[in-house]
Amino acid sequence: MTLIIEQCLNGLQFGLLLFLLAAGLTLVFGIMDLVNLAHGSLYMIGAYFAATFAAWTGSFVLGAVLALVATLMVGMAVEVIAMRRLYGRDHLDHVLATFGLILFFDESVRLIWGPEGMSLPLPSWLNRSVQILPGINYSAYRLAIIVVTLVVAVLLYVLVMRTRMGMLIRAGASNREMVGALGVNIKLLYTLVFGLGAALAGLAGLMQAPILTVQIGMGENILILAFVITVIGGIGSIRGALVAAIFVGFVDTLGRAFFPDLLRMVLSKDAASTAAPALSSMLIYLLMAIVLVVKPEGLFSAGQK
C-alpha cells in the first residue's frame, strides 16, 4: 500500500512537470499554429540560467526567480527575432527553422557554459524526505514540485478563463483570423504567448535540474513526451494538457513500477526484466494511438474546425 501511494505521487509529480512543458507547447501550437521543436531548448536554457543564477546569488529560490524572468526574456526575443518570420508558412518550414534553433541553442550553451554540464544543488530544507502519512516518507523536493506546478496550473486557468488576455488567447485558438479582424494587436499577443510558453518551459527545466542535472540536449527527450501530451489532450487546450499530462505521468511511472512484476507472472524472470522496460516505455505511445483512433482531435480539442 505504501508503495502504491508513493508510486502515485511519483506519477503525479512527473505528470505535473510534463504539464508545464506541454502547456507552453499547446498554447503556441494552438494559438499561433506554430510547431516549435525548440521548446525543449527553452527548457534547457531555464535550467542553465537557474544553475548560474543560484551559484551567483547563493540562493536556490532567488536563482529560480531570476532564471524564470530571463527565460521569459529569451522567449520573447526568439519570437521577435525568429518566429515572427514563420507565421503563415508551411509546417515543414516551422520544423526546419525550429530544428535549426535547437542546434543554435545547443551550440550557444556549449560555448557559454562548456560541454560538461552543471549541477544545481538543493538547499538542505528541500534536499531531504518528509513524512506525509504515518510510515510514508517522500522527497520534500518532489512534493515542492507538485505544489508549485498545481499553483501554476491554477494561475494559468485563471489567466486563460477569467482575464481579458485569456479571452483573446482562447479566441485566438478557435479562430485566429477573426481575432485579428476585430482589431486585436495580434503581434503583441503572440509575443506574450510565446514568452509565457517559454517561461513555463523554463520553469519545468529549472525544477527538473536538481533531479536530473543540467546538460546540453536535456530538453530533447522530454519534448517528445510533451508533444504526445499535446496530441492526447487536444491542440490548444490547457485543460486537455493538464489531464493528458497527469495521465501520461501515471501511465509512465506506474508502468515502470508494476509492469515488470506483472510480466514476471507470464514470462521467465530474465526475459521479463529485459522486456519490461522496453514495453513499459511503449505504453505511452500505445495510449496516444488509442486516443487518436477514438478521438482524432484529442480529448479536449480547442479549435473545432
Partner: protein, 391 residues
C-alpha cells in the same frame, strides 16, 4: 600548357609514390562518443590517447602515426557504420576505443572479418570474452562482470545480508547485475532494469527499492546518469538508511558534479589515480599538466594503455604489420608498463588483473578525489574465458 601541367603532376605523383611507401604510417581508428551528454567520457579517452602518443614522441614503433577519431553518438548502428568506414575506406591498421558494450557488439563483426586488430579500451560484454572471442580482439579494460563481482565480494566482507539491484537495460547493465549477483552470498531481493539511455528519473525504482527494505542497494550507472542517481537517492531519503554500493558510477568525470553525494559510497575499479607505480604517476601528473582543470579517469587510463600495447607489438615486430600471426603473438605478451601496474592476457585476450576498492575523500585543497582503500581481487580472471575456443 595543360598537357605540361598534367605531365608534371603525373611525374610528381610517381616521384612521391616510392618515398611514401618507405615512410609507412601507422593508422589507428578510434571509435568513441564525442557528442551528446556522454561526450565527456569520449573526450577523456581521446585526451589520454593523445597523451600516450605524446609520451611516445608521436611515433608508434618508430613509425609516424595517424589517428582518426570517429563519433559513435552512443548508438550501436552509428558505431557499426563508423567502424566499417575506418576499415573499408581509411584502411586502418588498428582500431581502438568503444565505451559501450552494445556499440561494441554491433561493431565487432566487420573488425574480425577484416582481420583488423582491435584494442577495446572500455566495453567488456560477456560475449566478447566468451564465444565471440577472436585472435584479433584484445582488451585493455575488463570483462563487465568482473568489477561488480569484486563489489559482491566486498559486500560479503562487510556482512551485507540482502541487496536490491538497479541498472540500465543494455548489454553492460545486464552483465553488471549478473556479476554482483554471482559473488554476493546474501539474498537478491529485487532487480530493476531501466530504459537506457533515455530514462533519467529513477523515482519509481527507488520507491520499489525502499519498499523491498533491503540491507543495501547496488547500482551501475556510468556517466551523467550516475550523478542523477546519487542525487535522487539522497532526495528519496535513502542516504544513511540503505547503504549504496556501486560499480562505474563514481569516477573522476562524474565526481566534480556528485561532490558530497559520493562521500561514503564505495566502488570497485581496476585502476585508481593513486596507484603507486611509476607509469601511473607519470600519466596522472602529465595529464593534469596537459589538460588543466581535468583529472584522468579509468576510461583514460585504459586508452593510455591501449596505445602502449599497440606500440609494444609494433616494436616487437619491427614495424612489420603484414605478418598478423607475429603481431598477435607480440600483443599477447602485453609487454609494456601498464598504468594499473602490469597485467597478463588470458586465453581470450582479456586482462588478468587486480580489482581495488575505492572511496571518495576530500583532499587538502577541498577537492573530492578517489582513493584506493584495499585490493579486493588479486589477479582476477573473468568467468567466460572457458567458453572461448582459443586456448
Amino acid at each position: 600548357m595543360r598537357k605540361t601541367l598534367l605531365a608534371a603532376s603525373a611525374a610528381l605523383v610517381f616521384a612521391a609514390g616510392p618515398a611514401m611507401a618507405q615512410q609507412k604510417t601507422i593508422k589507428i581508428g578510434f571509435v568513441s562518443t564525442f557528442s551528446g551528454p556522454t561526450a565527456v567520457i569520449g573526450n577523456d579517452m581521446r585526451d589520454s590517447f593523445e597523451l600516450a602518443l605524446d609520451h611516445l614522441g608521436r611515433k608508434i614503433g618508430g613509425l609516424p602515426v595517424e589517428v582518426i577519431y570517429e563519433d559513435d553518438q552512443q548508438k550501436p548502428e552509428v558505431g557499426k557504420q563508423k567502424t566499417e568506414k575506418l576499415i573499408e575506406s581509411d584502411k586502418v591498421d588498428f582500431i581502438s576505443g568503444y565505451i559501450w558494450s552494445n556499440v561494441l557488439l554491433a561493431s565487432i563483426k566487420p573488425v574480425v572479418d577484416s582481420k583488423t586488430f582491435l584494442v577495446i579500451a572500455n566495453a567488456g560484454p560477456s560475449q566478447v570474452a566468451g564465444e565471440l572471442c577472436s585472435p584479433y580482439v584484445f582488451s585493455t579494460s575488463w570483462q563487465n562482470d568482473q568489477t561488480p563481482q569484486a563489489m559482491g565480494l566486498y559486500m560479503n566482507q562487510k556482512g551485507v545480508k540482502s541487496v536490491f539491484l538497479i541498472g540500465p537495460n543494455y548489454a553492460a547493465g545486464k552483465d553488471m547485475l549478473a556479476g554482483v549477483a554471482s559473488t554476493f552470498k546474501g539474498k537478491v531481493v529485487g532487480q530493476e532494469l531501466t530504459t537506457w539511455p533515455a530514462q533519467l528519473d529513477f523515482s519509481a525504482e527507488l520507491s520499489k527499492a525502499k519498499a523491498a527494505n533491503p540491507d543495501s542497494i547496488f547500482v551501475f550507472y556510468p556517466g551523467k546518469a550516475g550523478v542523477q542517481f546519487l542525487s535522487q537517492y539522497e532526495q528519496a531519503g535513502l542516504k544513511g538508511k540503505i547503504p549504496l554500493y556501486t560499480a562505474y558510477t563514481i569516477d573522476e568525470l562524474s565526481l566534480p558534479l556528485q561532490k558530497e553525494l559520493a562521500l561514503g559510497v564505495p566502488g570497485t575499479q581496476e585502476w585508481v589515480n593513486d596507484l603507486p607505480n611509476e607509469a601511473n604517476k607519470k600519466f596522472v601528473a602529465d595529464y593534469i599538466k596537459k589538460y588543466p582543470g581535468h583529472k584522468p579517469s579509468f576510461y583514460g587510463a585504459q586508452s593510455y594503455d591501449a596505445v602502449n600495447l599497440i606500440n609494444s607489438a609494433v616494436v616487437a615486430t619491427k614495424g612489420n604489420l603484414s605478418d598478423k600471426e607475429a603481431l598477435r603473438k607480440a600483443m599477447e605478451k602485453a609487454n609494456f608498463k601498464s598504468v594499473r601496474g602490469g597485467f597478463k592476457f588470458g586465453n581470450n585476450h582479456m586482462p588478468i588483473q587486480n580489482f581495488y576498492l575505492q572511496d571518495v575523500v576530500k583532499d587538502a585543497k577541498g577537492d573530492f578525489v578517489l582513493k584506493t582503500v584495499a585490493t579486493v581481487v588479486k589477479d582476477g580472471q573473468d568467468d567466460f574465458h572457458a567458453k572461448c575456443p582459443m586456448k
